[in-house]
């Protein structure tokens, strides 16, 4: 019988080398998959990791996709380090987008210096507020946050569909399920004139840096880490477990809402029934690939953004199904978590007792 036993000590080298190893294994496995479908195996690497960057505007597209992933990945890293498993960032992302979108529709004539800060606040409050439902269920009824946050993500999706096809539908939109376009001011300033680079691209790395300082240097970050590593020690020190759960959910939810807000106002310019390719779930992979370290989340977010572009390229150039992005990301997470298990545990054969 195959059996796992703890190694006792984990190698620091492999902790950080694991993402690289996982990426290599993913290339191998998807290569085999390509070969099975009658296409050259090496095409995976070039299609997913190189072609998108060579395309016109490829870099710009990459950064626009990476921004929400990094923001959400940072928030999730903080929550996961505290042992709070928020799986529903997708729902908080949608609620942040709805709060901001609703506000932008309600104030079409507000100047930029008024509307942009309001939108940022709306995104944060929308996402955090939605996440706090999960925190309340956990602290009040001890309901598992993995289940409740995931289920609430689907509720959010239906709320979005209802609003966009119902009360918020653009009356002049020929019946399409979408709202009116937001004002130009609501889109916020561009980092480079004429480009698609919105304000969120500047926020994402700053948020990652702030989160890194918070986790490593602040009392709050210390409390969150202690609760994640040794809940008994957190009680001994006198940290309030419920307060930390509320905070971890509020931070991860707020950052997800912020990501949703920037995506709809800065990039899409209106609400539709499809607010993105599931950034909220991909952000979970980003967090783990970045080793739950806010600075590590930045390269991880860029890599996962690249797989979205690679998936598009695979559809267009090779005629593959759109499911290919999900497959690539899924295999990557699988390989990464598998490597993590093998870093901390040894696999061996054990005689049946």
């Amino acid at each position: 019988m195959l059996s796992l036993s703890p190694r006792g000590t984990a190698s620091d080298f492999w902790r950080y080398a694991a993402p690289v190893l996982a990426l290599a294994l993913t290339a191998l496995i998807t290569g085999a998959l390509f070969a099975a479908m009658g296409r050259p195996a090496l095409l995976t690497v070039t299609t997913f990791l190189i072609t998108p960057l060579l395309a016109t505007g490829g870099l710009e597209a990459l950064l626009v996709k990476a921004a929400p992933l990094v923001m959400m990945g940072v928030g999730l890293s903080i929550a996961y380090r505290a042992n709070v498993w928020n799986i529903g960032a997708e729902g908080q992302y949608i609620l942040g987008a709805l709060a901001a979108g609703g506000l932008a529709l309600a104030l079409p004539d507000a100047p930029g210096w008024v509307i942009v800060p309001l939108l940022i606040a709306a995104g944060l409050v929308g996402g955090a507020g939605y996440a706090l439902i999960v925190a309340w269920l956990r602290t009040r009824f001890n309901a598992n946050e993995i289940l409740t946050s995931l289920m609430l993500a689907y509720v959010a999706q239906y709320l979005l569909v209802y609003l966009v096809t119902g009360p918020w539908r653009d009356p002049d939109g020929f019946g399409f399920p979408q709202t009116a376009l937001f004002s130009d001011a609501a889109g916020g300033p561009r980092l480079i004139d004429g480009s698609n680079l919105h304000l969120g691209l500047m926020f994402a790395p700053l948020i990652a840096l702030a989160a890194w300082v918070m986790l490593g240097r602040s009392v709050l970050g210390f409390q969150l880490r202690v609760m994640g590593q040794a809940p008994r020690a957190a009680r001994f020190a006198g940290f309030d477990e419920n307060r930390l759960i509320w905070l971890a959910m509020a931070i991860s939810g707020g950052l997800a809402g912020l990501a949703g807000m920037f995506e709809v106002t800065g990039n899409q310019g209106q609400l539709t029934i499809n607010l993105g390719p599931g950034y909220g779930f991909t952000a979970i992979i980003v967090g783990f690939l970045g080793r739950l370290n806010p600075l590590g989340v930045i390269p991880a977010g860029l890599l996962l953004a690249l797989t979205y572009l690679g998936g598009d390229a695979a559809q267009m150039n090779l005629g593959l199904s759109s499911a290919i992005t999900g497959i690539f990301q899924g295999i990557l997470l699988f390989c990464l978590l598998g490597s993590d298990v093998l870093i901390s545990h040894r696999l061996h054969w054990k005689r049946r007792p």
Binding site: F222, A230, R232, F236
Partner: protein
């Protein structure tokens, strides 16, 4: 009649301690044999060797006249050695029969299992219904399942590890009747306990262990409970010369009528605990493990809040409903028994671990940020003052040996200038010189006017440090008496649960 099992010169050494030192004992067929001793006397090690979990370094096991090497627990079961552990391994969602089936090895053993369960339970007076779901059963009923599971294999020797620690008195009586019946039908029983009355009532022969060695074989019925107690604890008094002259001031820590329900099924409820400790005084709380020490520690440190604020007072301030943070603000410092995961975070550096409990009293945070230089400096002082062997303040707690981490944790609280220090097992797992350093620091702290509570299972340690001693047994605390007036016999009786609670 030839003996069923004979142990000769069993020796087992663990790093830093001799757990069994040439232990010999003989169990006759049909005998109920008590293995009596304090925590750490070496009972569990010996039983693990008999049941194949550990292997002895030296000595022989002679089973039914032939020398055997017991390879593993399965081999022990095949020989006819059954064991009922203190904590059960049952699946709550399954029925009794399903649980028993899971414990059996092969499909052949499961044929007609239900009928056999009923037959065994009827013939030994162990009422269990094979179709009940374990979830609904009491602790006593669950123990019966474990016993039935053993009996289905027709054991020749049944080992019971502190079986009554989880039972009500009535359930215990039922158990004794069953054990007597088993013995009369040919199954020997090795009965591990520290409860003296039980051993006298039930057992034919007793082997008494102390510090890894057998100190006596006797017939417990022929001894008084006090005689057994002093055998178990040992008579060697420490010279009273080592006692310091205590200077006591006003009471600093007062506990009055503190009752707390147990927080888990294996926990102990605290029942009407009262004591007070003055400045400059050390109160020792003795007792066998699992009699409420953990709960008392949690109640004093504020991890579990008392029902009334007035139940605990620190320098006359009611703190019963104040959390650990607030108690530290008033000068409370605590060293819990468990190091990694409770007193320290294994994966964090010593500096971060200093911050864990030192944040408030060490003023280690400003504007919500950790003052790293100051924290490192404090951790460094603990390391040098208490001779902690570590690669530095950045060493992770888990990289330290148990003794060194213990020195760091005791030293951490010492450096925070406590008004009241509550320390559990201060020298547990620490070598002699380190223990001495910790003891001296505790005495010095008391001399400077702090009130100190030492909770320990090591009676020698309490005799050495404490001015007054109280014993905790089944959640009840005896009235503290001056150490100079306490006899080991009296304390042994209290530890064995022979109540004299005034």
């Amino acid at each position: 009649m030839p003996p069923l099992v004979e142990l000769a010169g069993i020796t087992k050494r663990f790093p830093g301690c001799l757990a069994n030192d040439s232990v010999s004992l003989t169990i006759a067929p049909r005998q109920i044999h008590a293995l009596l001793g304090e925590n750490g006397a070496g009972k569990s090690t010996l039983v693990k060797i008999i049941s194949g979990v550990l292997h002895q370094d030296a000595g022989q096991i002679i089973w039914c006249g032939t020398e055997v090497t017991i390879r593993d627990p399965a081999h022990a079961r095949a020989l006819g050695i059954g064991m009922v552990f203190q904590h059960f391994s049952l699946f709550e969602a399954l029925t009794v029969a399903e649980n028993i089936a899971l414990g059996l090895g092969t499909a052949r053993e499961r044929v007609g299992l239900r009928d056999r369960i009923i037959a065994v339970s009827l013939s030994y007076g162990l009422p269990v219904d094979p179709d009940r779901v374990v979830h609904d059963l009491s602790v006593g009923e669950r123990q019966r399942i474990e016993i039935v599971r053993c009996l289905l294999r027709n054991p020749k020797l049944l080992i019971m590890d502190e079986p009554t620690s989880v039972l009500t008195p009535l359930e215990a009586e039922t158990l004794f009747a069953t054990l007597r019946r088993l013995a009369s039908e040919g199954c020997s029983i090795l009965y591990i306990s520290h409860k003296l009355d039980e051993v006298r009532a039930l057992c034919d022969v007793a082997t008494i262990m102390r510090q890894g060695r057998v100190v006596a074989h006797c017939v417990p019925r022929e001894k008084t409970t006090s005689e057994l107690a002093s055998l178990m604890i040992g008579r060697d008094f420490l010279p009273p010369a080592s006692r310091r002259v205590s200077v006591t001031g006003a009471p600093r820590l007062v506990v009055e009528h503190l009752s707390l329900a147990a927080t888990n099924p294996f926990g102990t409820a605290l029942r009407d605990v009262s004591f007070s400790v003055a400045g400059g005084e050390i109160l020792g709380i003795a007792g066998i493990a699992g009699n409420g020490q953990g709960e008392l520690m949690d109640a004093l440190s504020g991890e579990i809040l008392a029902p009334a604020a007035d139940a605990i007072r620190l320098d006359a301030t009611p703190i019963g409903k104040t959390g650990p943070h607030g108690r530290r603000r008033l000068g409370g410092c605590f060293v819990p028994e468990e190091r990694n995961g409770h007193g320290a975070v294994a994966g964090m550096s010593l500096a971060e671990n200093f911050f864990l409990s030192g944040q408030l009293r060490g003023v280690l945070a400003r504007f919500g940020l950790i003052r790293r230089a100051r924290t490192t400096d404090f951790a460094d002082r603990v390391i040098s003052r208490f001779d902690v062997r570590a690669s530095g303040t950045m060493a992770e707690a888990k990289s330290l040996s148990g003794g060194n981490l213990q020195k760091f944790l005791v030293g951490r609280e010492m450096l925070l200038d406590p008004a009241v220090l509550v320390v559990s097992q201060p020298s547990w797992g620490v070598d002699a010189s380190a223990a001495q350093a910790i003891h001296q620091a505790i005495l010095a702290l008391a001399a400077s006017g702090a009130a100190i509570v030492v909770i320990s299972q090591d009676l020698d340690e309490i005799m050495l440090l404490a001015d007054r001693i109280a014993v905790i047994a089944a959640g009840l605390l005896s009235d503290p008496v001056p150490v100079a007036e306490a006899t080991r016999e009296q304390i042994g009786l209290l530890m064995g649960g022979v109540a004299s609670h005034a």
